[in-house]
Structures are given as structure tokens and as C-alpha cells.
């Protein structure tokens, strides 16, 4: 079965077969990153625009490197979500970009649904979601799965704990979809103010009462970043208390399986959601995640390009 998705808007709309194909393609592309000449001509002549309406260094960098390693021309634009205030709508911005005939727009936006909005309105180019509001962050979930598969040899049957601010986390949502589709089990924990209603309906999810229940015998422990800037006093009394009840440290990590791996989408707040000793410990695969990010994004760009090229023919 060839890949059928012109756009990557979220994991929700992908099948297990799609996810496997993306991961396998990512595995194949990963080899390029170890070469001296880290470039293949696969997407020669393609133009990829990274439109980041929300600040991000690492995801943008990762997509940019992915595009360049495939020989696509990548261009970055950034702006704030409040560009509407300046008078131009997202549709106008997008149509202007499309008039320059790019093949793929990679979009990061503070509003949930912005990539869907673009995909509905753009005629030719593919849209790849690089994170929209608190909705989805598909490439992050895919690189997480790739990393889990690398370290655990499988995804099916894994017990994965995701801990932190689930309410505002697009990483959590995309991972819940992806892991559930691949047959893993997800356990969530976080402060009561950060567990949204109905989250268990998104997939094979158990909401745990506390951090310890979530990480007990887990194969994978994924700590989410506490968004310091988003923190209003109504959600948390203090980061100190957060660290105490929801932070991963050398003591509580012992509850997880001995060979458990520790993941984090970055950037980490050392001493808050993850202690420095865990962050630098051997169970930590955070840099593997970053490396796999480039490979999995190459896979996404390659796969949507095939669909896009066939349709424009």
C-alpha cells in the first residue's frame, strides 16, 4: 500500500500501517545522518517552507535539516500568532506563500486546528503539522515511537507513562494516538489541574492518581515540559511543589522497569520535571530522540512529496 496522505495534520488520521511505513522509512533515512556527505537528491527541486508562527528552535531546525538532507530548498518564515492583529489573516498569509509555488508547508501555530485550516484552503501544496496549539504534534510522536522501537525492539505491549501538563500538551495527544494504534498502553499522570476531561477516550489510556502509579513497571517514562510561561497561579502552587510530586528523580525512577528508558520532548527544565541526575543518566534517550527527529521528518517530507507530486502530474 502506497502512502495516501497528502497532508500530515495529526496522528489521529493515520493508520497503524501508515505509522509503520513512516517509521521504516525513517529507519532507512537515518543511515544518511551517519554519512560524511549527509545529503541525498531525493527531493531535489522541491521547495519546503517552514512557517513557524510560534517560537520554536528545535523543531524548526530539525525540519530544516531534514529538508536540506533530502536536497529540497527550505525557507523559514516566522511570525507571531498575533499577526492577525497586524491585519493579515492566516488564509492570506498562506495564499501568498502558495503563490510562490512551494511543495510543502510545514506549519507550527499557536492555535489548534491552524494546519487543518490551511489544508482546507490551499490548492496544491502539502501541509505538515509541526505542532498546533494543544492539539497535535505528529512528528514528535513519530520520533518518540522510533526511539522506543530502537531501544525496546517493539512498540506493541509497551507500558508508557506520560507525566506532566496533559491539558496543554500536543505531544501527549499525538503520543496517545500513536501508541494506542501501535498496541502500547499509555498511563497518564499530572496535577489535577492539568488532566483534561475525557482524555482516556483518545486511546488505550489509563489516568493514574499519581506519578508513582504511572511509572510503576513502565517500559518508557516520558516527562513533559512544564511550560513556565503558561503557568498561572491557578494551575500550580509552585514549581518546587511540582518537582516534589510530579518530578522524576533517581528515587522514583526505580519503580519503573530496570531497563526503562526516559524520554522528554525538550527543552528540559532540570530540577523541575526531571532531576539533573535522571536527565544525565544512562536511561535517558533524549538525544536519540533528537537524532531520530531528523530521520522521521525526512520520512514525512519524502512520503507526502510522493503523494503531492503524483497529484500535480
Amino acid at each position: 500500500m502506497a502512502f495516501q496522505h497528502k497532508h500530515i495534520l495529526g496522528i489521529e488520521s493515520l493508520s497503524r500501517e501508515d505509522i509503520e511505513l513512516i517509521l521504516n522509512t525513517g529507519d532507512a533515512f537515518k543511515e544518511i545522518n551517519g554519512r560524511d556527505i549527509k545529503k541525498v537528491p531525493t527531493l531535489r527541486g522541491k521547495t519546503i517552507i517552514n512557517a513557524f508562527f510560534e517560537a520554536s528552535t528545535r523543531t524548526r531546525l530539525s525540519f530544516e535539516i531534514a529538508g536540506k538532507r533530502l536536497s529540497a530548498d527550505t525557507v523559514n518564515i516566522s511570525g507571531s500568532t498575533s499577526s492577525v492583529v497586524k491585519g493579515e489573516t492566516l488564509e492570506d498569509t498562506a495564499k501568498n506563500i502558495e503563490a510562490m509555488a512551494p511543495d510543502i508547508i510545514v506549519i507550527r501555530h499557536g492555535h489548534s486546528g491552524a494546519p487543518h485550516y490551511l489544508a482546507e484552503r490551499l490548492e496544491t501544496c502539502s501541509v505538515v503539522n509541526a505542532g498546533d496549539g494543544a492539539h497535535e504534534h505528529p512528528s514528535q510522536a513519530l520520533l518518540d515511537l522510533m526511539t522506543m522501537r530502537e531501544h525496546k525492539g517493539r512498540i506493541e505491549g509497551l507500558e508508557v507513562a506520560i507525566v506532566g501538563d496533559i491539558t496543554h500538551s500536543r505531544v501527549a495527544r499525538s503520543n496517545i494516538y500513536a501508541l494506542s494504534k501501535m498496541g502500547a498502553r499509555v498511563r497518564l499522570a499530572g496535577p489535577g489541574t492539568m488532566l483534561p476531561p475525557g482524555i482516556e477516550r483518545l486511546g488505550n489510556v489509563e489516568v493514574c492518581a499519581n506519578l508513582l502509579d504511572a511509572i510503576k513497571d513502565a517500559d518508557v517514562v516520558m516527562m513533559l515540559r512544564i511550560q513556565l510561561e503558561r503557568q498561572s497561579q491557578t494551575l500550580l502552587p509552585s514549581l518546587r511543589e511540582y518537582a516534589r510530586f510530579y518530578g522524576l528523580n533517581t528515587e522514583n525512577i526505580k519503580l519503573a522497569k530496570e531497563d526503562a528508558i526516559v524520554m522528554h520532548p525538550g527543552p528540559m527544565n532540570r530540577g523541575v520535571e526531571i532531576s539533573t541526575y535522571v536527565a544525565d543518566g544512562i536511561q535517558n534517550v533524549i538525544l536519540d530522540q533528537v537524532a531520530n527527529g531528523v530521520a522521521v521528518r525526512m520520512a514525512l517530507l519524502y512520503l507526502v512529496s510522493g503523494v503531492e507530486s503524483m497529484q500535480t502530474q
Binding site: 488564509e91 489548534s112 492539539h135
Partner: protein, 425 residues
């Protein structure tokens, strides 16, 4: 003015428990006679055989956007939309620019409606000056100028003391206080109903308690002050229950529900559909069913559209920043009739909810077909099948969540003061 004889229709007027095949004779804009086999050789004959003849429909919750926001709607287009939907009387909300917080604005609305309007318009005063929630509008003069009720609709009167004083002050003037019941601190930056769908879409939710808490407060204030409270656009199961209990206690409370809240749920938001974004938000199926129950058992007194026109540019944006509200005047009748088709309520109850129910809630002098009264009538074809096309709406704005819906039932002739103001075919 030529007399008019409406012949052979099924006349349903819940205000006088009327449901019979009758003729209605209209002279000088008034209902002259109502009975069997009426004859008048001078009168223009309107054959209503097989049709329903009801008092002109009444919508007590409309945003006409005039003055100041005419790019969304004006009194001409809004009242045309009303008569196309079978409405002969509408009450318009004061959140215009400027706000209807003094009698000059009320006069402007009434004069423009008399000149350019297609139906009766009853302006609603703001409770507080400029909708600021800080000081009372001149409710006495506003009542004199023609405002039957007052509301800060669009936002609640957040300060409980302010709301209390408004009710105390309005009561002797016989004005209804209309509450847009929301606790804004619980609404926060929410953009849709809080629940599994908001979680899935990653959109900030508005919990039901934001409405219930405010409804409870306003009911208690009405009981304290004795002022008539009308709760606008009830959207939650809890609010329906609070009002049910209040009515049992004899509290001076009425309420309304909108067609979108009794038809749709927050599932309609999927795909980030901005035409499913409104305030209060579309709720859960449980809430929707509770509203249907409230319509059936009399807890809810009226169906009102909360017709809220917005320009395409205000809706064709990301969901978070889209304006709240949908147009509703032209889809309210068939959606109400759908409740009849689905056996939620019977036909007489449906007509009650669209005529004397709303008019009594606001104390308007319309809503019935009493002999000697104003001849406002709507002739309805219950069998007419049609499809909603947003682009074809008479409203200036096309923001309906029902575009493409197959409907059954339509107003085929709308008569205001004995004059045909709208006719289909």
C-alpha cells in the same frame, strides 16, 4: 387598506387554545373575525387549505447590529431575514455601537424599523451603560421609549451587587431583566464546551458550571428582588434543572433555548468549524436532551434564535479567534418543527414556543390572534421540503451551521398588521 380573508387553514393559536380549521378575516390591519365559512366579497382571498395558520412568530433574542455594525446586518436585512423565517416580531439586543443604553438609540431603532423594517422590532435596553457593568442605564426612560426588557447580552453582569440593583430598579418599571448567565472567571479563555471533544481538539473548554453558577445566582436575585428574570439561551442540563426548581418555588423566572442548542452538540465543532462556535457553546448530548425535555415539560418558555450575524472575515479564521454566534432567523421554524417530527414536542407546543411563549416572557403585546388585535400571522407549509443554502439567506451574514441541511416545513406567507411582508412562490 384592502381586507384579506385567509381561508381554510388549520389555525393554531396556543394563546387561546385554538386548533381548528377556520377562516380569518383581516380588516384595517386587525383580526376582524375568526370562524367557519367566513365571507367577504371585497376581501383578497388567501387559500390556506392544507396549511397551518399561526400568530406571527416572535423571536425575543436577535442581534440586528444596527446602529454601528451594519456590515454584519442592519434593520432592513435583519427584519427581512426575520419575515423570511416566519417571524413578525423580534426583540433586538443592545450590544450595538453605540449601545442601546439611552432612549435616543431606542428611538433611532424604532424609527428606522418603521421606515425600513419588514416586521415589528422591540429594542432591548442595556442593563448597564455601555455594557460596562458599572452603572445602570436609564431604564425608566428606556422603558418609556419602548424597551420591554433589559440585558447586557453578550456578557453577563459580573458584579452581583450590580445585578441586584438592576433588578430592584427595573421591577417597578415592569421591565424584564434578561440574563446572559455566565461566570466569566470560569469561562476564562474557553472557546467551546469543556469535554472530551475539547480535549481531543486541543481547544480550551468552557465548563457547564460557568453557566449553572451564574443562572443560580440570578434566580436567587430574582427571588430576592421580585423582579422578572428571563434567562437567555439556556444551554446546560443544570440550568434547565435550576429553572425547573425555581419555577416550582414560584420564582418570577422564564427562560429560552435556541434551535442550535436543542439541535446540535459540541461534536459539530470537529474540523474546527467556526460556524459551530457560539456563546454559550454547543454542549454535550446530555445537555441537548435536557433542553428538549425542558421544552417539552414547560420549563423552557420560548425558543429564541440568538441570531448573531458575523461577517465572513470574522468567521473565516482560526477557531480560537473566530467570533461567537450564528444566524438563526431563517432556520428556527423548520428546526422547531423537526422536534415535532421527532416527537419531542407536539405541534401546539412548538407554536406556543414560537409565539405566546416568547411574547409573554418579555411582556410583548403580540403573539396571539385575538379578534380586535393586530393581524400578525404566519402561514406555514408543514410538508414543504427544502435545503438550507447559506449563500441564499436573506441575512447579510451567512454564518449558519446548518448549511446544506435538508429541512421540512417553511413559512410560506408572513403577514404583519394585515400586510403581506413575505411570500414564498
Amino acid at each position: 387598506m384592502k381586507a384579506m380573508l385567509i381561508r381554510g387553514g388549520r389555525v393554531v393559536d396556543p394563546s387561546q387554545n385554538l386548533d381548528d380549521i377556520l377562516d380569518i378575516l383581516i380588516q384595517d390591519g386587525k383580526v376582524a373575525k375568526c370562524g367557519k365559512q367566513l365571507k367577504d366579497s371585497q376581501a383578497e382571498i388567501i387559500d390556506a387549505k392544507g396549511k397551518l395558520v399561526t400568530p406571527g412568530l416572535v423571536d425575543i433574542h436577535v442581534h440586528l447590529r444596527d446602529p454601528g455594525l451594519e456590515y454584519k446586518e442592519d434593520i432592513g436585512s435583519g427584519t427581512l431575514s426575520a419575515v423570511a423565517g416566519g417571524f413578525t416580531s423580534i426583540a433586538c439586543m443592545p450590544n450595538t455601537k453605540p449601545v442601546n443604553d439611552n432612549h435616543t438609540i431606542t428611538r433611532y431603532i424604532l424609527e428606522k424599523a418603521a421606515k425600513e423594517g419588514h416586521c415589528r422590532v422591540f429594542p432591548i435596553a442595556s442593563i448597564t451603560k455601555g455594557l460596562s457593568g458599572e452603572s445602570l442605564s436609564e431604564l425608566g426612560e428606556l422603558r418609556e421609549a419602548g424597551c420591554y426588557g433589559a440585558s447586557d447580552d453578550g456578557k453577563p453582569v459580573g458584579n452581583s451587587e450590580m445585578m441586584r440593583r438592576a433588578m430592584e430598579y427595573a421591577r417597578p418599571f415592569g421591565m424584564t431583566i434578561i440574563s446572559h448567565a455566565e461566570d466569566l472567571s470560569l469561562v476564562g479563555s474557553g472557546v467551546m464546551n469543556e469535554g472530551p471533544v475539547s480535549t481531543e481538539l486541543g481547544l480550551k473548554g468552557i465548563p457547564w458550571v460557568a453557566e449553572d453558577a451564574a443562572t443560580a445566582r440570578d434566580i436567587m436575585l430574582a427571588e430576592l428582588t421580585g423582579c422578572h428574570l428571563h434567562v437567555a439561551h439556556v444551554s446546560t442540563k443544570g440550568s434547565v434543572e435550576l429553572i425547573r426548581q425555581a419555577k416550582r418555588r414560584g420564582a418570577p423566572v422564564t427562560c429560552e433555548a435556541t434551535p442550535h442548542h436543542f439541535t446540535l452538540t459540541d461534536e459539530a465543532v470537529r474540523g474546527y468549524n467556526t460556524n459551530a462556535k457560539m456563546n454559550p457553546p454547543l454542549r454535550s448530548e446530555e445537555d441537548r436532551l435536557a433542553i428538549c425535555q425542558g421544552l417539552a415539560d414547560g420549563t423552557i418558555d420560548a425558543i429564541a434564535t440568538d441570531h448573531a450575524p458575523h461577517h465572513i472575515d470574522e468567521k473565516n479564521v482560526e477557531f480560537n479567534i473566530a467570533m461567537n454566534g450564528v444566524v438563526g432567523l431563517e432556520t428556527a421554524l423548520p428546526l422547531t418543527l423537526k422536534l415535532v417530527q421527532d416527537r419531542v414536542i407536539d405541534l401546539n407546543r412548538a407554536i406556543e414556543l414560537l409565539t405566546c411563549g416568547p411574547s409573554e416572557a418579555l411582556g410583548l403585546p403580540v403573539g396571539g390572534l385575538q379578534v380586535g388585535g393586530d393581524a400578525d400571522l404566519t402561514i406555514i407549509d408543514l410538508d414543504r421540503k427544502w435545503t438550507v443554502a447559506a449563500s441564499q439567506l436573506n441575512s447579510k451574514s451567512k454564518n449558519t451551521p446548518f448549511d446544506g441541511w435538508a429541512m421540512q416545513g417553511a413559512a410560506v406567507c408572513t403577514i404583519v398588521a394585515g400586510e403581506i411582508v413575505y411570500k414564498l412562490d
